[in-house]
């Protein structure tokens, strides 16, 4: 049809934009949506060196006329559709960037049963805006999309294919830094490709293919990520892939753990379905040969609950959480029918070592408990025990308010917050008592605690005691950014900002371990004191 180069660039441009605009309705089933089938990407090979020889016929060669039988076979989309898409809606530079509209996403979000209540379907456009913004503002310079596209649009293309192959043999001991490096390789390659207007193919090696017939050659299942792809869904698929890598990078760098569900919520519009995220995560982890935890992703809930209550799940099973000394994994809220609270009047949320930021299931569960009465028709009291450091205070805020990110997006905020949550500790005054080394009596913040003169004090010579650590540059930057955030978003005066300043000024932080063996007594006194405070 058209051999005019300009038309081709129109076509390319529309593909890339589709990546962010999702012109076509998204189906719930991720594999169908991304058109992943094993058949079209299987490569038989004797050794890994031949993997690099990519069968170019798999991909639409954009320098040749668009209508080609290869395209037909591979994608199952009529070339005319592809072409029409480009021709009937040529992208004008003035059109870009085109603000996404909520209409496009409505069908997607409504189809997803996991989204709690109705907030999601009413406000998807906001989340999309946030997505685009964060992506563009991210560290990766290639996301200055408009500028790049402009270049692609105006200049002639050099047909060059860059191939990145991830075929790591299984090795669970690879450090996260190695994963970061592999991710950066892809980003770097993508940058190069955008600069040189070439094509990027990321080949992900999956599991070994089970062949019915005996064969000496190893058969691997390969997933190919192509950019720019022959049609819109390839670009969406590539976009989801890149977004996932970006999130993994973020998780590793900030030392957070995301669940697959967290990842999905980060970008509901782009991923389309939980299943998409699940299979992408599995693909990446098997291609790199590392377990999911090396990507800082966990499959399921990591929060534990222990107490006199039972969780009735939608599948009919009942979890009794009253097992001495053992926590029960908190299931996803979608799986919970109801929770029965028996002889319990207080909930204590504890930041447990190594668990880091709470996942969505844990926060949703906390919120659920917050709305639930116990057997005497009383609502529960909520307290939070976190490390005395910027991250601990951030975790407390996350439970109390929902994260600021989701609040900004207007999403899920109500569904995950525990507004009545109180900050039990570790407080600045606890440092004064436990760490300054001197005989200090009965220090509190005037909340009616009894004197603690009976306690063993740290001797003056043993400074700093266990649990007390110097603030790192990272801690300081985090504290300042939290002060800044509270100043900008809330207008200052958040209850813990004073603690943040004291962290910065004094220069020490404290883990819960600072309380050591006195933790139980600490809780006794703090909670006992607080109850008296409540009654009065």
């Amino acid at each position: 049809m058209s051999s005019n180069p300009e038309d081709q660039y129109d076509l390319e441009l529309s593909h890339v934009i589709d990546l962010y605009q999702n012109q076509s309705p998204i189906k719930d089933d991720g594999s169908e949506y991304f058109g992943w089938s094993d058949e079209d990407t299987v490569t038989a090979t004797e050794d890994t060196s031949s993997i690099a020889q990519i069968d170019e016929s798999q991909f639409l060669d954009l320098t040749t006329p668009i209508v080609s039988p290869i395209t037909n076979e591979v994608n199952g989309i009529t070339p005319t559709d592809v072409l029409n898409d480009g021709i009937t809606r040529p992208i004008q530079l003035s059109d870009f960037p085109k603000p996404p509209t909520s209409r496009r996403y409505a069908s997607t979000t409504q189809n997803i049963p996991e989204i709690p209540h109705t907030a999601a379907s009413t406000t998807p456009s906001i989340s999309t805006d946030v997505d685009v913004t964060t992506t563009v503002d991210g560290e990766i310079p290639e996301l200055d999309l408009a500028g790049r596209l402009h270049k692609i649009f105006l200049e002639n293309r050099v047909e060059e294919t860059v191939t990145v192959i991830w075929a790591g043999s299984d090795n669970s001991t690879r450090p996260s830094a190695w994963v970061l490096q592999k991710i950066d390789e892809v980003f770097a390659a993508w940058l190069d490709v955008i600069d040189s207007k070439g094509k990027l193919v990321v080949k992900l090696r999956g599991g070994e293919r089970r062949m019915l017939r005996a064969s000496r050659s190893q058969q691997w299942v390969w997933r190919n990520m192509v950019y720019p792809g022959p049609c819109a869904r390839d670009n969406r698929r590539f976009g989801a892939f890149v977004r996932l890598l970006e999130l993994v990078r973020e998780a590793i760098e900030s030392d957070k753990i995301y669940t697959k569900r967290d990842i999905y919520y980060k970008d509901v519009a782009l991923f389309g379905s939980q299943q998409t995220v699940d299979s992408l995560v599995d693909d990446v982890s098997s291609a790199l040969g590392v377990p999911r935890r090396s990507l800082h992703i966990t499959a399921a809930a990591k929060g534990l609950v222990c107490g006199d209550l039972s969780i009735f799940k939608t599948d009919g099973s009942i979890i009794d959480c009253n097992i001495e000394g053992e926590g029960v994994l908190i299931p996803s809220s979608a799986d919970i029918e109801k929770v029965e609270i028996r002889d319990t009047d207080t909930v204590l949320i504890i930041e447990k070592e190594g668990k880091g930021y709470p996942d969505i299931a844990t926060r949703e569960f906390s919120h659920y408990l917050y709305l639930t009465k116990n057997h005497t028709e009383q609502y529960l009291d909520f307290y939070c025990l976190v490390d005395y450091d910027p991250h601990g205070l951030d975790i407390y805020t996350m439970y109390k308010n929902g994260s600021l990110m989701s609040r900004a997006a207007g999403m899920f905020y109500e569904q995950m917050a525990v507004p009545g949550l109180r900050h039990l500790g570790v407080r600045f005054c606890d440092i004064l008592e436990y760490c300054s080394g001197s005989v200090v009596s009965g220090v509190g913040e005037g909340d009616g605690e009894e004197p603690r003169s009976k306690r063993v004090r740290y001797s003056a010579s043993s400074l700093p005691p266990q649990g007390l650590l110097p603030m790192t540059a990272h801690d300081r930057a985090k504290a300042v950014s939290m002060l800044q955030r509270d100043h900008d978003v809330v207008g200052g005066g958040v209850e813990y900002t004073e603690d943040l300043r004291k962290l910065l000024f004094v220069g020490y932080k404290a883990e819960i371990q600072v309380l050591g063996e006195q933790l139980v007594r600490y809780l006794d006194e703090k909670l006992g004191g607080q109850r008296i405070g409540l009654a009065s």
Partner: protein, 310 residues
């Protein structure tokens, strides 16, 4: 030989949050806290009324204030990382050293006696001297140390010497005329939170988490003697105008006055156990040595036996 002090005046609600920064001139007592304002209370007036407020000084709060000996200029450092210069004659802002970058962020500050130059210590241990007389402020000296957080700095009265105290216990003395490091004093091992040249410039007082007040001879770099008696982290140290006395304040709420002549603690003040972040002698009026402390409140103390009791 102990001294008797009376609480002359307490301003409980000067700031909504803890007071981290204190600067004193003959006219004003400047305080900075977690709020964005710097408050100026009268130093002379016995009731110490609030006479001025610098609004929007540091949006995330202010952690250090320094004043010139002449009392015409003050500088302040904020949690957001910038340094601001204040004209105390016209009570107005007089320039700013903006947040340079993440690592080079200013923490500790000091001002020369005439107010013309300031000394800054940053997160990465860089110690710099700036000319404040016209904007943009010129950087006159840039001393490199061991890339350890700077908790405190001071300039000698004649401006020829600079000193810095660091989170790892490092103490450095610089000769500003040659631009060289005069002494690197090690051995304290714990965060150094307060550092001050004596009025004569011959001695250097150093305090911190080691709970001892160490006195160094500036020329030789030798530790001359120690004051012991604090039982918690010592946050600030300051000299009286004559150099006869030192005032120190600590994390456990104690303020102590030390005599250089008898080499003893002559007074311990502090009823509460809330941290006292700063303590300073007031510019001398009459015979007595009066002082002010800042922590949760601003408290003025008056020497009972002195002629300045008024």
């Amino acid at each position: 030989m102990s001294k008797q002090y009376l609480t002359a005046h307490t301003i409980d609600n000067a700031h909504e949050s803890s007071i981290y920064a204190l600067g004193v001139t003959a006219d004003y007592t400047l305080t900075g806290s977690g709020s964005s304002v710097i408050k100026l209370h009268s130093t002379k007036d016995a009731t110490h009324p609030l006479v001025h407020t610098f609004t929007d000084a540091h949006k995330l709060g202010c952690h250090h204030i320094a004043t010139s000996r002449a009392g015409k200029r003050a500088i302040s450092a904020g949690f957001e990382g910038s340094l601001k210069v204040w004209d105390l004659e016209n009570l107005e802002a007089n320039g700013e050293i903006p947040d340079p970058n993440k690592d080079g962020q200013i923490w500790a500050i000091a001002l020369s006696a005439d107010g013309g130059r300031c000394l800054t210590g940053s997160h990465n241990g860089r110690i710099k001297i700036w000319d404040l007389d016209k904007e943009p402020f010129l950087q006159l000296r840039d001393y490199e140390t061991k890339n350890v957080f700077t908790l405190c700095v001071d300039l000698s009265v004649d401006g020829k010497l600079a000193a810095s105290g660091h989170e790892n216990g490092g103490v450095y003395i610089f000769n500003n005329e040659t631009g060289r490091m005069l002494h690197s004093l090690t051995g304290l091992m714990k965060p150094v939170r307060g550092i001050a040249f004596s009025p004569s410039g011959k001695l250097l007082a150093v305090c911190g988490d080691f709970q001892v007040i160490a006195i160094y001879d500036v020329q030789s770099g030798e530790q001359v003697f120690n004051f012991t008696g604090h039982t918690s982290w010592v946050f600030s140290v300051g000299w009286s105008e004559t150099g006869q006395f030192l005032v120190t304040s600590s994390f456990d709420g104690k303020t102590k006055i030390w005599s250089m002549d008898s080499r003893t603690c002559v007074t311990t003040l502090g009823e509460s156990n809330q941290p006292i972040f700063r303590a300073s002698f007031l510019p001398k009026i009459g015979a007595g040595e009066n002082l002010v402390t800042a922590g949760t409140a601003i408290t003025y103390y008056r020497e009972a036996s002195g002629a300045g009791t008024g």
